[in-house]
Point group: C2
Chain length 209, copies 2
């Protein structure tokens, strides 16, 4: 397995972000509209023609290289494609992860209708996705170390309302290749889901160290 | 909280599926293309115009009612909008869940580049999403009972390759309002993630029973 990153300059990062972020945002809007539209067959066909035109335009040149880069200035991983934090993945809310000097992480973001499970509530598996991600971020020091989820346990105290949420995580302790991380998800009324996980550096990375 | 469903006839289900499934599939293609495109600014702007046209067309009439329905013939829940199984949610792979006579569930589906975490591997949180969903399906008898995730624990035996996967789940036992479910995710090389969860029927549903 590869765990090296190509470097992206601050300038190129900003250029790509400026060009491609509006595209991802437009797709996020379309995902929501696609769930709720009730237009007739003929209108769907017209919309499909536009989607196919857009696809053909965007497919004219595609990247085959690595989708995770390292930011030249901050040295942080730039996970464009990631389904939790990817600025270029319309599946991602996206979470923007803030790293505190003490090593802890937090992120405030919105989970809209595309993440709904029971009516009005976030799907339990989406809570698991965002908590797995932020615990992994804190354990791997911002995706800079190759650490993989070993185990993760989630306790759902109550439902999470759709809308603005906040996720938080910190490292509890490390033992050899294992890092023990904890965190939680909050909505406007407080903590909804608690998580604890063990993240492991694989043997190949330990040998290389 | 609501936990009643509007009924959808088999005929209307097939009509909606025929009209809207190609739309969702087109959006799934665009999500992938959006991650990997490297076209220049001008081409992105042209593509954005098409996406905005499609959005305007689809927004001409939207549904405000319930997004989970009950299929008139099979009596199964039809969770169009669900981020794991929704035929109308482009975030969903989608999983199509098969229910066996013994109550167990399985689903075979593909996790492509939009679900990537570490290079070549499924994001650990996506594994958690699909396992939470299938354990919830088996515990709630196909989303027909109001059962919510209480706790879920996942053990990652190794990475899950991007590509075709299979998820399986069964009910281990029930105690009062609690249902204990287990399951796992497999790729072509065998089991990658094991899951166990406790799903709980909320007090309001028990009182109503």
């Amino acid at each position: 397995m590869e765990f090296t990153f190509d470097v992206i300059s601050a300038e190129d990062f900003e250029r790509q972000r400026r060009v491609y972020e509006p595209l991802t945002d437009a797709l996020r809007t379309l995902i929501d509209v696609g769930i709720h539209t009730e237009v007739d067959d003929a209108t769907v066909l017209l919309a499909l023609e536009h989607l196919e035109e857009a696809t053909a335009l965007l497919e004219q040149r595609t990247r085959s290289g690595r989708s995770t880069l390292r930011h030249a200035d901050s040295n942080r991983a730039v996970a464009w494609a990631n389904p939790a934090v990817g600025l270029r993945n319309a599946i991602a809310p996206p979470m923007v992860i803030e790293h505190e000097p003490d090593g802890s992480c937090w992120s405030e973001f919105t989970l809209g209708p595309a993440y709904e499970g029971p009516p009005g509530w976030v799907h339990g598996g989406i809570c698991a996705l965002v908590l797995d991600h932020i615990l992994g971020e804190v354990a791997s020091e911002g995706l800079n170390l190759p650490k993989f989820t070993g185990t993760i346990s989630l306790r759902y105290r109550r439902g999470t309302h759709l809308g603005p949420v906040r996720a938080e995580a910190f490292v509890e302790r490390s033992e050899g290749a294992k890092t023990f991380a904890r965190g939680h998800l909050k909505d406007a009324d407080g903590v909804t889901v608690e998580a604890e996980g063990v993240f492991i550096m694989p043997a190949w990375a330990r040998d290389a160290g």
